[in-house]
């Protein structure tokens, strides 16, 4: 394959080019500036802001570049926007947190931008090879970030487990790609979708798709490949967990939706059945295990498994409602989960690394703003209107019902009720239980602002969901 690569291709990449350029710039800067300089932080913020602007500007023009292997504009830009927004909030919350954990090393920002580059490539991939490139770029950065607080045993454990199991999953994914390439003679995702109907009867093709599915399900953290999630999220630096659970999951779902599009699911019925079972299991297992957790981070980790189940429901629907729902959901989930992890990162101190639910008793009196914001994020995660979390669920379930998966929607709704138990318990503990959480941290101005922003966005999206749905509808 000998493709002429032109400047137009690079320009068309838009946000990807910005973030990748930013990563390279940081590598150079890192060796020039003093270690304590806040320059790296501000450059990262600037790069992500420019990337978000660039994504917003290019969302209306969809196309392909690099000989049709990379998607530009439209779908890719929408997700680029989600990633930059999430990463921007994570970046803003990071310096104070890293300082507390005595790991204020500036390499953090290089790795963070590298991870975002990988996510954007995944959401823009129109070829399995490109997808794999993005996936590994993101994953390797995350392996390192998970162990970034290297003095901490749990952080090291987290990195190690994530790396081992991640590598394991990658093996299955690659094998799946090889089998698909073997039957189709091409790695093009567009071609995979268009010729799925013709090859649906071939066992080799089905097994190939099945192995691809294993890789995806691992990356989105759904049952039965979810067991790494609680250990990794608990041990990794809190803001890294925030990014992994939102950006990482969104990127995996973005590619998931591209590969397992409507054509594939409609022709390969067994695959769809398996996915439906996995979605139901994720919702059930994630929610039920979240109930008995005592650590807030582990609770959020299991709830993230449950959310993977909800979102998977939208993928299975394989219709416009479902796809719009997945896209809307991921934006909402990114905002609310980064918010929840953000509150935790502020509450943690050098001595209290892992906030337990009981530690939050009486928080509404000592930290009224943080408690209020946390309550808002919990309401949105539960899916209570008028917050965006409600419409995310509403759209994916509507899609599932439209596609004849009413039972899946019913499971989802029932499990949402179960989730209210542990989300709202946090609110109850913060507001109605006596306690004196004085040993928890306080927010800086920037920290509070970067929590208020997603809170406002969640309310705005919940009141006017059509603004985003009008965007996502253009992407197909």
């Amino acid at each position: 394959m000998n493709l002429p690569i032109t400047w137009n291709d690079v320009l068309a990449l838009g946000p990807i080019a910005v973030v990748f350029g930013g990563t390279l710039l940081l590598v150079v800067l890192e060796s020039i500036v003093r270690k304590a300089s806040p320059l790296m932080f501000w450059v990262t913020v600037g790069v992500l802001a420019v990337a978000a602007g660039c994504a917003l500007a290019t969302i209306g023009v969809a196309g392909t570049a690099f000989g049709g292997t990379v998607l530009t504009g439209g779908y890719a830009s929408y997700f680029a926007l989600v990633f930059s927004a999430g990463a921007l909030l994570v970046t803003l919350l990071s310096p104070a947190y890293l300082l507390k954990r005595a790991t204020a090393f500036t390499e953090y920002y290089i790795l963070l931008l590298a991870a975002v580059t990988g996510m954007m490539v995944m959401a823009a991939s129109n070829d399995l090879v490109v997808f794999f490139l993005g996936l590994e770029t993101m994953s390797v950065a995350f392996y390192v970030l998970a162990g970034f607080t290297r003095q901490s045993v749990t952080s090291n454990e987290s990195a190690m487990k994530y790396f081992l199991l991640g590598a394991f999953a990658t093996g299955f994914l690659l094998y799946g790609m090889a089998l698909v390439y073997g039957t189709l003679g091409s790695t093009s995702i567009a071609m995979l979708r268009s010729s799925a109907a013709a090859h649906a009867g071939e066992p080799l093709f089905l097994v190939g798709l099945g192995l691809l599915l294993v890789g995806f399900v691992f990356k989105v953290a759904a049952v039965p490949f979810h067991m790494w999630v609680p250990d990794v999220y608990e041990g990794a630096p809190t803001m890294v967990s925030g990014l992994m659970s939102t950006g990482g999951k969104s990127a995996a779902f973005a590619a998931f939706l591209l590969v397992f599009g409507a054509d594939v699911l409609q022709s390969a019925a067994p695959i769809r059945e398996v996915m439906a079972v996995l979605a139901a299991l994720s919702m059930i297992v994630g929610n039920i295990l979240a109930i008995s957790q005592t650590s807030v981070k582990r609770m959020l980790a299991y709830s993230s498994v449950a959310h993977a189940g909800y979102i998977l429901t939208g993928v299975i629907a394989a219709n416009a409602d479902g796809a719009n729902g997945v896209m809307f959901y991921l934006l909402a989930y990114t905002l609310m989960n980064v918010g929840a992890f953000g509150v935790l990162s502020i509450l943690e101190t050098a001595s209290v690394e892992n906030v337990r639910i009981d530690d939050l008793a009486g928080l509404s009196r000592t930290r009224p703003w943080l408690a209020g914001l946390m309550a808002l994020f919990m309401f949105s995660l539960t899916g209570i209107p008028p917050f965006a979390g409600f419409f995310g669920k509403y759209y994916v379930f509507t899609g599932a019902i439209g596609a004849g998966y009413t039972w899946l929607a019913i499971v989802g709704v029932i499990m949402s009720v179960v989730s209210a138990y542990y989300y709202l318990r946090l609110v109850v503990v913060m507001y109605f239980q006596e306690g004196s959480p004085d040993q928890v941290g306080t927010a800086t101005g920037i920290g509070l602002a970067s929590l208020v922003l997603p809170a406002i966005a969640l309310l705005a999206l919940g009141l006017l969901p059509s603004t985003i749905v009008n965007l996502t509808m253009q992407c197909f």
Partner: protein
């Protein structure tokens, strides 16, 4: 460009609400808070005037504009936008709400002076204006309903504004709850009506709904259902039989609230809604009859209660219920313009009466019992004169504004052949004149009956200037609707004609009635009103003993009237108590605690048990995770190959 400014008129009160609501506690300066609140409404009035003038310049057929802001909800077949319809009808309402609203905001700066909740008061007041403007400017039923609920919420908040005070047998909170719950019953009707409209027409926007309704025959059953359901909503919001009971209790709120919400604007929302849906009502003649009968009955019924009340605000409250009855009578006999005209003149004189009453209460240091007043004429001269003018207007004396609007309603009822309804309205007019001048005489004339320690004084300029402006409007507001019989052009009828044309085309045309008959009826109604005034002044200017004598002669009737026909007691016995008892014994202790709670607790314990048990699988050992991983892969591939 003119029309595009209308959303700004809606938005400004909301901005005022946000500023005063979020920062009011910090601003503290009453002048600043009051200025923000008043300006937010006053600018809206200027925008409304601007729209009015450019509409006047336009051809009558091209005065309807829809300003679409953004799509709001799109779910399945339901597409709703935040969009405002600006036409002659909504402009009239816009000017009334912002104009009278502005004056009352200014008045409240003086009235609420020194109240610890000053900022909170203006916050609620601005939120109310925002909701009310959404109600009257909406281009679809859903946005109208948002406003409809919003004004109900503000009404609730403002009735219970002095939540630490007692009111009658309970607290102001009880009065607020009563208003809210009774309104909910009406709102339920509105909702049903809205659902029926959506299933019938597939849209909630006014223009397509009315366009499709044209195709329905007069008397179509679905139109009957829709209009009746909507009318249930109107009886709640506009305090008609049988849902009027909340309005007298709403007087627990501060007086500017009574003037703005419970007299001039919110309570007319039901009338506006019927007028907006005039075409649907015209297609359901049976509903029109119901509306007319309910209206005339309420007009008469509330007036009789007003005869014997001694709380200055209660008299005005029953008077409001009665006047709203006239408006519905107008709607029911197809005199839509006359009804809207009465909404307007009533807004002027009733707002003035309430503000005057507020000034009296202010002067008397929170005394509201007119039996303990008297002789206030010389102490509060401006209040007295403006109050007198408003009373003449509501009594329907020529040439004050109330004469033109009320007489138009009675004339249309008579000309349409509804002689009984006309007679009820006429009798109500006598009672109106009587109870208003009973009020005037007891309050301002005769000897002082208050304690010697009090020193009544006239209110500050922020309160008296709005009184004078409203007095001017109450006197001269009628010129907009001078009927042809008196050589006028009936400007408001011509103005609103295009809006009501489709409805009027569906109604049977009455024959041309002679001017002689119209003159005769005018003389009759002014004559009886004068009679009512003279009797009232004779009996109540000084202690004559006549009223007491009559009360002693007819003790049963007197008791029934003083106790407001025992309607509250009847509702308590038939509806409120059974529901309370039933929900306590059966629903709460039986079903909720016994069945639902048990089920919930049992399932919660089961899930928690499950959670603890399954948790053991999560060992933390990576090899174990990998093993589970492989098992998962095997299961998935097995499934795929078997199928």
């Amino acid at each position: 460009m003119t029309y595009e400014l209308v959303p700004l008129a809606v938005l400004l009160p909301f901005i005022g609400f946000l500023i005063n609501g979020l920062l009011g506690r910090l601003i503290k300066r009453e002048a600043v808070i009051g200025a923000i609140g008043s300006a937010a409404v006053g600018i809206g009035f200027l925008i409304g005037l601007n729209v009015l003038f450019s509409m006047l310049a336009a051809d009558p057929e091209h005065r309807t504009h829809v300003v679409e802001l953004f799509p709001w909800i799109s779910a399945g077949g339901l597409q709703t936008s935040i969009a405002y319809q600006i036409d002659p009808l909504s402009v009239v309402m816009l000017l009334i709400v912002t104009g009278v609203g502005f004056l009352i905001h200014v008045y409240a700066i003086g009235y609420m002076h020194g109240d610890p909740g000053f900022w909170r008061f203006f916050t609620y007041l601005n939120l109310f204006i925002f909701a009310m403007l959404n109600l009257i400017l909406a281009d679809n039923f859903l946005l109208m309903f948002l406003g409809w609920e919003g004004v109900g919420l503000c009404s609730y908040l403002l009735i219970g504004f002095w939540y630490d005070r007692n009111f009658e047998k309970g607290t102001t909170g009880d009065a607020a709850k009563k208003a809210f719950i009774v309104n909910r019953i009406g709102d339920f009707g509105f909702l049903i009506g809205m659902f029926l409209i959506f299933t019938t027409f597939g849209t909630l926007r006014f223009a397509p709904v009315f366009a499709q309704a044209e195709a329905f025959p007069v008397g179509a059953p679905i139109m009957l259902a829709i209009t009746l359901a909507l009318f249930v909503g109107a009886t709640g919001k506009s305090a008609q039989i049988p849902l009027f009971v909340w309005l007298p209790d709403a007087m627990a709120g501060p007086t500017p609230v009574s003037a703005l919400i419970h007299a001039a604007t919110m309570v007319t929302a039901g009338v506006y809604m019927v007028a907006r849906c005039s075409l649907l009502y015209a297609l359901a003649p049976a509903t029109m009859t119901v509306v007319a009968v309910i209206g005339a009955s309420t007009a008469l019924f509330a007036a009789t209660i007003g005869l014997v009340q001694n709380d200055i605000k209660k008299v005005l409250a029953y008077s409001t219920v009665s006047q709203l009855g006239y408006m519905f009578l107008a709607m029911g006999v197809g005199a839509f313009t006359a009804g809207i005209f009465h909404v307007m003149t009533h807004a002027f004189f009733k707002a003035l009466l309430f503000l005057g009453a507020g000034s009296v209460i202010h002067a008397m240091h929170e005394e509201q019992d007119i039996q303990k007043m008297g002789g206030l004429k010389s102490h509060v001269p401006i209040t007295y004169r403006t109050f007198l003018l408003a009373s003449l207007a509501i009594a329907g004396i020529f040439p004050f504004s109330g004469f033109f609007s009320k007489d138009e309603i009675l004339w249309k009822a008579f000309a349409g052949g509804h002689i009984v309804l006309w007679a009820m309205g006429l009798f109500g007019a006598i009672l109106t004149a009587f109870y208003m001048f009973r009020l005037v005489s007891l309050t301002f004339d005769g000897e002082p009956r208050w304690a010697h320690g009090k020193h009544p004084h006239e209110a500050p300029a922020t309160m008296t200037v709005p009184l004078m402006v409203l007095a001017f409007l109450s006197v001269f507001g009628g010129v907009l609707g001078i009927p042809a019989a008196l050589g006028g052009g009936n400007a408001i009828e011509q103005w609103l004609e295009p809006v009501f044309r489709p409805a009027l085309d569906k109604l049977p045309h009455e024959g041309h009635a002679s001017h002689v008959l119209e003159y005769t009826l005018m003389i009759v109604s002014v004559g009886v009103a004068l009679g009512g005034i003279l009797v009232a002044r004779r009996w109540y200017r000084s202690t004559t003993g006549v009223p007491e004598g009559i009360a002693a002669r007819f003790p049963v009737i007197h008791r029934v009237l003083v106790n407001k026909y025992f309607v509250d007691e009847a509702y308590d016995a038939v509806v409120v108590n059974p529901i309370q008892k039933g929900s306590e014994r059966i629903l709460w202790k039986g079903i909720d605690v016994g069945v639902i709670d048990w089920l919930v607790n049992a399932s919660a314990r089961f899930v928690a048990y499950l959670s603890r048990t399954v948790r053991v699988v999560q060992t933390g050992v990576a090899q174990g995770y990998a093993l589970a991983f492989v098992l998962g892969v095997v299961a998935i591939l097995g499934w795929l190959l078997v199928h």
